[in-house]
């Protein structure tokens, strides 16, 4: 019998998810024995045409990381959907847009200008910006269109499973892969490889919380040397643990860094950023507008903090279009 075909593709990605896949270390040898990899741009030389030639639905599973930022991504994910039985959104970007989806707060003009003109270390005296197309020797070369927003892949195609993380840890990746290959798959749309509960469930500092978790100040990580024996949230740090899916074994917290939320929301939450903001605001222990305002004003970038990995999948999706009036 033929080995199941697997495809792995990257859209708007930093490459971390590819590294994470490889991070499964020796287990990758077991994996490549079990499957037939038909697409893996980072490592293997298959091309788009190779995929087009495959019969529809013949790829058992395609693991896609990175969000849909340009028309080319959109095209590829749609192609892979056609050719695959199962689509797995691998990593925060394909699942919810990831950090790159914070660009949804800006227009194309704004971020192009920033990247090519405003960044202090950019030397661009002639003000060059990328062109969409150029004709050389009568041949037109085109770059893909930048889409109005960076989208999680499930806004473009039907997604079967999600593997959370930025990137998913090696153990989560292995667990997800073995779940898929076991034949005993959870309901469509499930998050696999990780926990059903928030991070606090597996965090060693959860036990140290007092009965009432309330804070009178919010601190940024550089403002405090955290006590490694006490829940970081109770020390005023913005630990997203309570709002974030577990499964990573609380790696960051164990290194005294507050969780930033890369494993995304739990199943019942529709908008991670709003929910995270809700719980943080709830524990600010003041009753008057002025004191509350003072604490909240300490956050320089609440959208960046609470929607760090999930803006693309948020209810509003990013900054809405400016009012033309």
């Amino acid at each position: 019998m033929d080995k199941p075909k697997i495809a792995m593709y990257w859209c708007a990605s930093c490459g971390g998810c590819e590294e994470a896949t490889v991070d499964i270390a020796e287990r990758v040898l077991d994996l490549v024995n079990l499957v037939d990899i038909v697409l893996w741009p980072v490592a293997l030389d298959f091309k788009e045409e190779d995929i087009e030639k495959l019969p529809d639905g013949s790829i058992t599973a395609s693991l896609i990381n990175g969000g849909v930022r340009v028309s080319d991504h959109e095209h590829m994910v749609k192609l892979l959907r056609k050719k695959s039985k199962i689509i797995v959104a691998y990593g925060a970007c394909s699942a919810w847009g990831g950090i790159p989806s914070l660009s949804n707060l800006y227009s194309e003009g704004e971020f192009t200008s920033r990247a090519y003109h405003e960044v202090p270390t950019v030397d661009n005296p002639r003000g060059v910006v990328p062109q969409k197309s150029v004709t050389i020797d009568g041949v037109e070369l085109k770059l893909p269109e930048i889409l109005p927003r960076l989208l999680p892949i499930d806004r473009v195609i039907d997604v079967d499973y999600y593997v959370p993380g930025c990137p998913p840890t090696a153990d989560v990746t292995w667990k997800a892969v073995t779940t898929l290959l076991s034949g005993k798959v959870p309901p469509k749309g499930s998050v696999i490889g990780a926990s059903e509960k928030a991070l606090c469930d597996e965090c060693p500092l959860n036990e140290t919380k007092p009965d009432k978790v309330l804070v009178q100040d919010l601190k940024r990580p550089h403002e405090v040397i955290p006590d490694g024996e006490k829940c970081l949230l109770t020390q005023g740090l913005l630990c997203m643990g309570p709002a974030t899916r577990g499964g990573c074994t609380a790696l960051c917290v164990k290194a005294r860094m507050p969780c930033t939320g890369c494993f995304g929301p739990l199943d019942r939450v529709t908008d991670y950023g709003a929910k995270a903001a809700s719980f943080i605001a709830s524990i600010v222990d003041f009753q008057d507008e002025e004191s509350i305002g003072k604490v909240i004003d300490k956050l320089p970038d609440p959208v960046g903090t609470f929607y760090r990995y999930t803006l693309g999948a948020s209810t509003l999706g990013g900054r809405i279009r400016r009012n033309k009036a």
């Binding site: 059903e196 606090c200 919380k209 019942r268 809700s278 719980f279 709830s282 524990i283």
Partner: protein, 651 residues
Amino acid sequence: MSEEPKVGVFVCHCGMNIAGTINVKEVIEYSMTLPHVVDAKEYIFMCSAPGQDLIKDSVKKSGLNRVVVAACSPSMHEPTFRRAVEEAGLNRYLLEMVNIREQSSWVHSDEKQKATEKTKDLIRMAVAKASLLEPLEDLRFGVQPASLILGGGVAGLRASLDLAERGYKVHLVEELPTLGGRAARLGKLAHVDMKGAEMVGSLIKAVVSNPNVTAHVNSEVTELDGSVGYFKANIKYKPRFVDAKCTLCGECFRVCPVEVPNEYEFGISKRRAIYLPFKEAYPPVAVIDSETCTRCGECVKVCEPHAIDLDEKGHDLEAIAGGVVLATGFSPYEPPEGEYGYGHSKKVLTLFQLERLLDEDGPTGGELKLEGSTPRTLAFIMCVGSLGTTKNAHQYCSRMCCASALKNILTIKDRYPEVEIYTIYKDMRTYGRGDERLYERAAERLVKFIMFEAPPTVNVKSDNLEVRVHDATLQEDLLIPADAVVLAVGMSPSQSLPKVRSVVKVGCSAEGFLREAHLKLRPVEAPADGIYLAGSVTSPKNIVESVMAGSASAAKAAALFGKEEIRIEPMIAQVTEEICSGCAICIAMCPYGAISRKQKDEKRVAEVDKALCKACGACVAACPSGAMQQAGFKDIQMMAQIAALTEKRGA
């Protein structure tokens, strides 16, 4: 929910109240186009018997499993339609009401088309929510017809008597070795021809002779578990070391070598380590103060009836009650040393100390003598510790001090007509019945009244006390060479409150007293069901007001005890343990202390005490994982309702 929702929409005309503005036919037609709606009916008065029958018939004929009634405000007829739905064989909570009278037709009668559009929108939203409603069962709790009352002062005594006379068992717990509270240490009372101890004594007698009352004196409640209907208290009895064989012969008092300031005389005289708090104390048994007793045993030697046991141990007792009354009173404001010369001179005393001096049963036999002599000039400084007069003072008015001071002033004037009295006040608030007359009589007796804005100062000199004040009325500085100064100290929250609050979950107001459920509408109830607040524990009160509060709280408790069972609406918070990470964010959200963490399979999850949860939903909005939900207001139900705001998402 495994079955497909089948929703029936029932639109009431309410005569012309709704139908006069809203196009009901259009609304009915529209409702039939909504997802899951299988029947839509209108009727002139849906709340009437035929209207309810219409609903019941439709439930049967169309196999409805959800009902939406668009009519008046749910505050009017939600119970009516819930009953109808239940009689039709459905769970009463599978009903969603839409307010299209008070909140549509009555307020948009000039814009009929828009009112109709709004009505359609609201029904669409209600249908979306109703489709996701789940059957719920009322929570039921049995009620123990017994009361636990903390505090044996006038409020606690009044509450005890009222409840006992109604046939309910009462556990009255008093931490001091005697009942009576503060009122028992007052001299002659205003307007009533009795001493404080006499009046309180009559109340005590009635209380302790009632077979329904168990008085636990010299005891404290150290633990309180449970909630409305069933509280379990641990009452710790502290040993008196003297039992009921005591005949109050007084021999032990004579031989005891220890002398300490007598707190029952507010420190102006001393007592022994073995003592009787005061003449009318109840129980009429001596008591040993274990903190100052040296265990020398002299008292044992002279005790003829052998009533003293220096080795007596305390013991614990369990009491069950359906409701708890907190009547733990107040503490007199204690001026910091130096405030108005307090603590720097024996001739600066508080009003409470003055009461003891003027009492015939007091340490001076009723004679106004300080350091052996009667003052010729007396300055009363009012509003001490109140009205923000000094740095440590409370901002509020302590209510009882004006009348109380004037009563004493008149007593002094009666006995010592030559004494000159100056009353220096920030405000004069003789508001109670008969109190203004006290003020008038004092003025008639040529008591001088001086109003201040800036507080007076008291300079302790070798032979007198120089009181300086800027008279706000005359706009002049005055110097009063007083022989003694009486400070009319106000009421502070009881010093025992932190201890009480560690046992009973009651919140505090901004001033530090216990907070009532609603200042005006529910003044003797704590926010948590089954806990009542009587007397000065919630705010400064005079005796009349405290006794009223005692009776009021007893009435509230009696209303509870009169029910065999209490039914509570089930829209409470619920934890899905499979999702709960035990993050504990919810615990601090609950003002009723209804949430705690419990062990589950080596991890922790949140747990909601059904009896304490009041269904506000604050914990639900804070829950970062969605594990906490509110029955009847779950996130998916609310989101469905919101999603149906506009047509395009309604489909």
